[in-house]
């Protein structure tokens, strides 16, 4: 299981990257994160919403009320222009961290 600090730090880039594929809603976001991380990235379901609301306040994403296929009310989130810019920055920074760690690991095992 990934540590809480890392979960908090990765929440925003993960959400932005998921929404870059198209609009989505809270439950689907949680399901996709769980599936993609094979359960290692553990999010408490309810805690996702304060993150989404704050990202919306900051103008990174926007929301709209819609309906599911079964007619249930749903709030859909989608990426805004500032969100795309923020996502690119996040991805560059995480790639840098990843390349540093990968380089060091290769040296350690060389």
């Amino acid at each position: 299981m990934i540590r809480k600090e890392l979960v908090a730090a990765s929440a925003e880039p993960v959400i932005l990257s998921l929404l870059a594929k198209g609009e989505s809603y809270g439950y689907a976001i949680i399901q996709e994160v769980t599936a993609r991380s094979e359960g290692e990235l553990h999010w408490t379901d309810g805690m996702l919403y304060p993150v989404l609301h704050r990202m919306e306040h900051r103008g990174l994403i926007k929301s709209r009320w819609g309906e599911s296929e079964t007619g249930r009310k749903r709030k859909y989130y989608s990426l805004m222009k500032d969100g795309k810019t923020a996502m690119t920055k996040h991805q560059q920074q995480w790639s840098l961290v990843n390349s540093v760690l990968t380089g060091l690991r290769k040296e350690n095992y060389a």
Binding site: E5, A8, A11, T44, M47, Y49, R54, K73
Partner: protein
């Protein structure tokens, strides 16, 4: 075959109790509460399809949702209240300061009274405490607003 609609209807009392717990914890704004409930209902429904046990599916979904007090604390962080507080406080302080200056400068002319020159003994006695009070109000309000804003900016762990 499980009748999903009936199974969900049987859980209405449990949903009402959960909603009451959320309200008691302070999650009173309609949007987050409605959004959380929609999520809870979807989660319960999905797990009912596999387990068939309504009470068990509900209990597991509530656990996954998180504790109400923790949720309230995280929603507070996303409220932007610190930023608003700062502007409101700055508005009140600024208005008071401008009003004091207007009375200080224009008042004597309008009412044809003895004008108190800046920094004279009379000015210090009459006006200086008012200026100090408004400036102190702005500074204290800004400090509180900034502290709250910084707290709100802390990363939220979902």
């Amino acid at each position: 075959m499980l009748d999903l609609r009936n199974a969900m209807a049987d859980l209405e009392k449990s949903f009402a109790e959960w909603r009451w717990q959320m309200l008691a914890a302070g999650i009173k704004a309609p949007v987050p509460l409605e959004e959380l409930e929609i999520h809870l209902r979807e989660d319960v429904e999905q797990h009912l399809r596999f387990s068939g046990d309504g009470e068990q599916a509900f209990a597991a979904a509530v656990r996954r949702m998180g504790r109400p007090s923790e949720l309230k604390s995280e929603f507070n962080k996303s409220s932007r209240w610190g930023f608003r507080f700062w502007w409101i406080w700055l508005g009140i302080g600024g208005f008071g300061l401008v009003q004091t200056a207007m009375l200080n400068l224009v008042g004597p002319l309008v009412f044809h009274r003895h004008s108190s020159a800046f920094f004279s003994a009379k000015w210090w006695a009459d006006w200086f405490p008012s200026y100090i009070a408004w400036i102190a109000l702005i500074l204290v309000g800004s400090a509180v607003g900034l502290a709250k804003w910084r707290w709100e900016r802390k990363a939220i762990s979902p």
